[in-house]
C-alpha cells in the first residue's frame, strides 16, 4: 500500500490510534490486552525468546483470545531483563522485570487473568518520553 500524501498518512495513523492509547494510557475500545517483550540482543541473551515462546504456549492453553504478544526493542533496563510490559484496557501500563520462562505462568495468572500485580517483578519506569506527543 503506497502512501502518496501527508493526508493519507494522517488518516492511516488515526486508524491505528487505539493501540497507542492502550500503550500510553491504558485506554482502548477493542478490549485487547497487549504483552510487549523486550527482544533486543540483551533481552534475548537473558532468555526473552524462551519467555516469548512460553507466553504463546500458555495463552493458547488458556484460550485467552484477547491477548496479543508483541516483540519490541530494548527498554534500557539491562540488569532486569527479560522485561515484559502488560497493557490492559482500563489499567496503567506496567513493566515487569526478570520474567524468565518459569515466571510466565504466574504472570499470566496473576496479572492478566486476575488483574493483579506480580510481586517482586514489578518495575516502574523512571523516565519520561519526550520525543513525540
Amino acid at each position: 500500500m503506497a502512501i502518496k500524501s501527508l493526508e493519507e498518512l494522517r488518516k492511516l495513523r488515526a486508524s491505528l490510534q487505539d493501540s497507542v492509547d492502550l500503550r500510553e494510557k491504558g485506554e482502548s475500545t477493542s478490549g485487547i490486552t497487549e504483552v510487549l517483550i523486550g527482544m533486543g540482543t540483551c533481552g534475548i541473551a537473558a532468555g526473552a525468546r524462551d519467555t516469548f515462546n512460553e507466553l504463546l504456549t500458555i495463552i493458547e492453553e488458556q484460550k485467552l483470545s484477547k491477548v496479543k504478544v508483541i516483540s519490541v526493542g530494548c527498554l534500557g533496563q539491562c540488569s532486569l531483563e527479560p522485561t515484559v510490559q502488560v497493557n490492559m484496557p482500563g489499567r496503567e501500563p506496567l513493566i515487569y522485570g526478570k520474567i524468565t520462562e518459569n515466571r510466565v505462568k504466574e504472570l499470566v495468572e496473576k496479572v492478566i487473568i486476575k488483574q493483579g500485580y506480580l510481586d517482586e517483578n514489578l518495575l516502574i519506569p523512571s523516565f519520561t518520553k519526550d520525543g513525540v506527543k
Binding site: A2, G40, V72, Q77, S79, L123, D130, V132
Partner: protein, 588 residues
C-alpha cells in the same frame, strides 16, 4: 472482593539498603492485623530509578508517591492514608524549583532526570511492524518536510535546534548538512555511521534493534535537505539482529513508498542500502568508513578534503551517527525551539549513556545535557555495587578519559568533559570503584587501540605499541621512574602527529589517568606497589577459613596459628578478604 488499594514498595538495591524490605514485612503485618488483606495488596517492585530519594512508596489507584520513607513512617501511612484516605503531606516529594509538595510522580521534576527522545520508541513499538511506527507519528516528519518545507528551511531548522553529532566529536549537524548541500552537483550521499566500536557502548545497536524506522526516516529527511538521493547504512556484521531489523524495515518502508521514487507525491526520490563492515574500530572514523564502503582497506585519509566536499565516490557526503539521526524526526515534529530549550548553552537535547561496570542499575539511560555525573551514578544508576567507594567513571571509551570524584557535580556536556580531560565519545560510561587499578585500566584501552590501529601512519602504529609496552613493563614491576616521562612525552607526540581521530585520541586514557592518579603510576614505577593481600599476624587466630577459600592455594598455616600468604603466588582475587571474620587481612 476486588482490591481497593495497592501499595508499591521499591525493592531496588538502593532502597533495600535503607530498610525497604523490613517495610514490606511491617506493612503486610499491620494490614493483616487490621484484617484488610482482602482490600490492600503490598507489592515489592524493582528499582524506580530515583535512588537518591529512596526508599520510595507509591499508592495506587490514588497515584500518590512518597519519598524518603522511614520505618517509623509506616504506621502513619497505614492509619492516615490507607485507613482514612488522607495523604501524608510531609512525605511527598518537595520540588525545590516549584517550592511545593508534589503528589503524583509524573509531575515531579525529579522524574524527568531521564528524558527519552532518541530512545522514545525503544521497548514500546514492534520494530518489525511498520504500522506500529506509523501509529506513533512515524514518517510524519518526512511527509511534513516534503510537503511544506524547502531544503533550505530544513537545514535552518537543524541549525536552530543546535543538534550536535552524537558519535563523539560533537560537530553541529545542521552545519554539516549545509556544507554538503552547498556543494555543486546532483550526486550526493547520506551515510549512517552504525559502526559502533567503543567497548561498553551499545546505544546505537539498541536504537537500530528497537526503532529502525526512525533512522530510515531521518536519513530521507537528510537526503532531502542536502539533495542526496541515496543513503547507506554502514553497520558492523557483529550486529546480526540490528541488520535483520533494518532489512525488514527497509522492505516495509518501500512497500508504503516511504522509500523509493516520488515520496509523498513530492517528486523527491530516496532509497537506502546496507553495507556491512567487518568491525574494525578505525572504520568509525568517517574517511576510513567511506574507504571501507568503497571496497578499499579501512584506512583514513587526510582532511581536507572533507567528506562534505569529496566523500563516497568522491561526491559530497554527509556521515551522521545513529543516535544523531534518531533525534531528527522529533525535532521536525516538535520544532527547533523545543529541542534547543533542553540542555546546556552549547550542548542541546539529550544524550544516551550506556552504564556499565561497578554500578547497580546497568543499562541505557537518556538524560538531558547538563545532568551531573552524580545524578547519573547515584540517582539513576542506583550507586556503586556493594556500597563501595566511587573512584572514577571512564567516558569516551579508548578515546576518552576518567572523571573523578571531584568532578561528580560537573554538568555533563561536550565542553565540560573536554575541559576535564575526557570526552563525550559515543556515551559509554564505565563506573570504577575503589578496587580498580587505574594503570591496568589504561593498559586495557591501549591494548585495544594498538590492536585496532590501522597502521597507515607511524605515530599511531608504532607509538601506541610502544606506550602499551611501557605500561606492560610498569605493571610487571620491571619499569623505572623515567618511564613515566617517556610515556607522557610519547603520548603528546602521538596526539599531535597522528593522521586521524583514532591516533589523536588514543593516548587520552593514559594522559587522563596519569593526571588524576599519578601516584598509582609512581607506585608501579618505583616498584613499591604490592599486588598481594597480607595477613596481620596479631589479628589472625588461625581459623583456616582463608586457606580453604584461596583458589590458588597460596595461604598456608596450621590451625590456631597465624597464617601466611605467599605474596608471589597471590592473584589478588580478594576471596580471603571476604572470608575473614576477624579483619585480619588487608587489601593491597
Amino acid at each position: 472482593m476486588k482490591e481497593r488499594i495497592t501499595v508499591l514498595v521499591c525493592g531496588g538495591t538502593g532502597c533495600m539498603a535503607s530498610d525497604s524490605n523490613e517495610m514490606v514485612i511491617q506493612l503486610k503485618q499491620r494490614i493483616k492485623e487490621l484484617k484488610m488483606e482482602n482490600e490492600v495488596t503490598i507489592i515489592k517492585t524493582g528499582c524506580f530509578g530515583f535512588c537518591g530519594q529512596g526508599p520510595i512508596i507509591k499508592i495506587q489507584p490514588d497515584n500518590v508517591f512518597y519519598v524518603k520513607v522511614k520505618l517509623e513512617d509506616i504506621e502513619e501511612i497505614i492509619t492516615e492514608h490507607i485507613v482514612k484516605g488522607r495523604v501524608v503531606e510531609r512525605l511527598l516529594f518537595d520540588d525545590p524549583k516549584a517550592n511545593e509538595k508534589v503528589k503524583e510522580h509524573k509531575n515531579m521534576d525529579f522524574y524527568k532526570k531521564q528524558m527519552r527522545i532518541a530512545l522514545r520508541n525503544c521497548g514500546f513499538i514492534n520494530p518489525e511492524d511498520i504500522s506500529e511506527y506509523i501509529a506513533v507519528r512515524g514518517y510524519e516528519a518526512l511527509a511534513i518536510v516534503l510537503s511544506e518545507n524547502t531544503s533550505e528551511e530544513v537545514i535552518t531548522i537543524m541549525k536552530d535546534s543546535k543538534l550536535r553529532g552524537r558519535g563523539g566529536g560533537g560537530f553541529p549537524t545542521g552545519l554539516k548538512w549545509e556544507l554538503t548541500a552547498k556543494q555543486p552537483g546532483n550526486e550526493k550521499y547520506v551515510i549512517c555511521n552504525a559502526d559502533e566500536g567503543d567497548p561498553g557502548a551499545f546505544m546505537d545497536r539498541s536504537i537500530l534493534e528497537g526503532d529502525p524506522h526512525s533512522i530510515l526516516e531521518a536519513m530521507a529527511i537528510a537526503g532531502y535537505a542536502m539533495g542526496a538521493n541515496t543513503g547507506i547504512v554502514y553497520i558492523r556484521a557483529e550486529y546480526p539482529l540490528a541488520i535483520h531489523r533494518l532489512e525488514t524495515a527497509i522492505k516495509q518502508a518501500r512497500e508504503y513508498n516511504f522509500l523509493g521514487k516520488d515520496l509523498f507525491g513530492s517528486g523527491f526520490d530516496f532509497d537506502i542500502d546496507i553495507r556491512l563492515g567487518a568491525g574494525a574500530f578505525v572504520c568509525g572514523e568517517e574517511t576510513a568508513l567511506i574507504a571501507s564502503i568503497e571496497g578499499h582497506r579501512g584506512e583514513p585519509t587526510k582532511k581536507p578534503p572533507f567528506p562534505s566536499e569529496q566523500g563516497y565516490k568522491d561526491k559530497p557526503t554527509s556521515v551522521n551517527n545513529v543516535e544523531t539521526f534518531a533525534n531528527i524526526p522529533s525535532i521536525i515534529l516538535k520544532g527547533a525551539e523545543w529541542f534547543s530549550s533542553i540542555g546546556t548553552e552549547n550542548s542541546k537535547g539529550t544524550k544516551v549513556f550506556a552504564l556499565a561496570g561497578k554500578i547497580n542499575n546497568i543499562g541505557l539511560v537518556e538524560v538531558p545535557m547538563g545532568t551531573t555525573l552524580r545524578e547519573i551514578v547515584y540517582d539513576i544508576g542506583g550507586g556503586i555495587i556493594d556500597g563501595k567507594e566511587f573512584k572514577a567513571v571512564q567516558t569516551g571509551g579508548p578515546s576518552g578519559g576518567v572523571i573523578t570524584k571531584e568532578h561528580l557535580d560537573t554538568p555533563i556536556d561536550y565542553e565540560s568533559l573536554k575541559a576535564i580531560g575526557s570526552m563525550m565519545g559515543s556515551g559509554g560510561m564505565i563506573v570504577l570503584d575503589e578496587d580498580n587499578d587505574m594503570v591496568e585500566i589504561s593498559k586495557f584501552y591501549l591494548d585495544f587501540t594498538q590492536d585496532e590501529s590501522c597502521g597507515k601512519c607511524t605515530p599511531c602504529r608504532i607509538g601506541t605499541k610502544r606506550m602499551f609496552e611501557i605500561l606492560e613493563r610498569l605493571t610487571n614491576l620491571e619499569g623505572c621512574p623515567e618511564d613515566l616521562d617517556i610515556l607522557e612525552d610519547l603520548a603528546h607526540n602521538i596526539k599531535n602527529s597522528s593522521l586521524c581521530g583514532l591516533g589523536q585520541s588514543a593516548p587520552n586514557p593514559v594522559l587522563s589517568t596519569l593526571h588524576y592518579f599519578r601516584e598509582e603510576y609512581e607506585a608501579y614505577a618505583n616498584r613499591t606497589i604490592s599486588k598481594s593481600y597480607k595477613i596481620i599476624e596479631e589479628k589472625c587466630i588461625g581459623c583456616t577459613k582463608c586457606s580453604r577459600v584461596c583458589p590458588v592455594e597460596c595461604i598456608t598455616g596450621k590451625v590456631k596459628v597465624p597464617h601466611i600468604i605467599d605474596e608471589s603466588a597471590c592473584i589478588a582475587c580478594g576471596a580471603c578478604f571476604d572470608a575473614c571474620r576477624f579483619d585480619a587481612i588487608i587489601k593491597p
